[in-house]
């Protein structure tokens, strides 16, 4: 590809990404009445979507072969317990991440 074509490719990707982000706002601009079905989806989708993102983050975890996703499982449970107990996002995330990075280097070392 020429430089111009590469720039164009990048701009097409940027444009298509902006479309996926902006389309709902174009379809339902603020001054129009939003159908109740769409408002219902707006109420239930966020949590379902964030849950879907967790699965998306874990999509490459190998559950059938060693270490069977055990480090991910242990660390995620640690994040859940810490968050339930202390309600401090930074502590939960930092501790969960540290635990994960230690686990994959020690007990569950694969390399």
């Amino acid at each position: 590809m020429s430089i111009m074509q590469i720039v164009l490719t990048i701009l097409i990707i940027a444009g298509a990404t902006a479309i996926t982000r902006g389309l709902p706002f174009v379809l339902f601009p603020s001054d129009l009445h939003t159908p109740s079905y769409i408002r219902y989806l707006g109420g239930v989708l966020p949590c379902a979507t964030i849950a879907m993102l967790i699965v998306y983050c874990m999509r490459h975890v190998e559950f059938v072969a060693w270490p069977n996703g055990i480090p991910e499982l242990i660390s995620t449970v640690a994040v859940i317990l810490l968050q339930v107990r202390f309600k401090n996002m930074l502590i939960s995330i930092a501790a969960g991440l540290a635990l994960y990075m230690v686990l994959i280097r020690t007990v569950f070392e694969t390399i």
């Binding site: 590469i6 990048i10 298509a16 982000r21 902006g22 709902p24 969960g96």
Partner: protein
């Protein structure tokens, strides 16, 4: 102006994203550099595209023959999940003013999750607060990409596993969301439907079927679930102490 107050209020919320984006951005920059594109390309892409997974795909698209239509369609497919963020944020972004176009442009997985789950402090307007969360995240992403492309293969830290920061971040957010009862069933639906689709369709193609499954199940379950939703805007949740 309350810009300073807004940055100060926004920054703590973005720290997990800072960690994730800096390292993911560096990984992206290193990959880009190894494909023969320097830091200016990294900067240009991160400024204009600002979409993590898609920029990794873009690197391989940029080394193939020019195919504008297929690039366009691939991007729509990889990023289709963003449609859900828009539908989820219609109410929250209503009437927030001049920053709205940029906030919508910058609504990555992580920015959406933050915007959805945080409320501005009383002395900062919603628009300004959201704008700076988005802008800070954008800067981390651009910075990471440029650092990665500049340092490239000289980087020798073993950062294996750093990507778990995103899983931990999303998990902590979900825990907070689950404190509100009306979020529990939608969350379980999201988890189960996505996991089943992952098993059936595999890691590279499960996202679109999962989105379709979510819509179908949530539509079927509308009448019981809708009764549980708060009557007014559901904007009470906080994530940081």
């Amino acid at each position: 102006m309350n810009a300073k107050a807004a940055i100060k209020a926004a920054f703590p919320y973005t720290i997990p994203v800072l960690t994730g984006y800096l390292f993911l951005g560096i990984a992206f920059g290193v990959l880009l550099q190894s494909s023969g594109f320097g830091f200016l390309w990294a900067g240009f892409m991160s400024v204009t595209i600002f979409a993590g997974a898609m920029q990794f795909v873009a690197v391989s698209l940029m080394t193939e023959p020019f195919a504008p239509l297929s690039v366009f369609l691939v991007t729509l497919m990889v990023n289709a999940r963003h449609l859900f963020y828009g539908f989820s944020m219609l109410e929250k972004l209503r009437g927030i003013g001049k920053y709205k176009p940029y906030i919508v442009f910058g609504m990555t997985d992580e920015t959406f999750t933050l915007l959805y789950s945080t409320e501005p402090p009383k002395d900062v307007s919603r628009g300004t607060f959201y704008f700076f969360i988005t802008l800070l995240n954008h800067c981390y992403w651009i910075g990471g990409g440029i650092i990665g492309a500049l340092l490239g293969s000289q980087l020798r830290f073993d950062m294996t596993g750093i990507e778990f920061v995103m899983t931990a971040f999303l998990t902590a957010i979900v825990v907070e969301q689950l404190r509100a009862k009306h979020n529990r069933i939608p969350c379980i639906i999201g988890l189960v439907a996505s996991a089943i689709c992952l098993l059936v369709f595999g890691p590279e193609r499960f996202l679109l079927p999962a989105m379709a499954a979510l819509i179908v199940v949530l539509t079927i379950a509308r009448s019981p679930l809708e009764k549980k939703l708060p009557k007014q805007k559901a904007t009470e949740s906080e994530t940081l102490p």
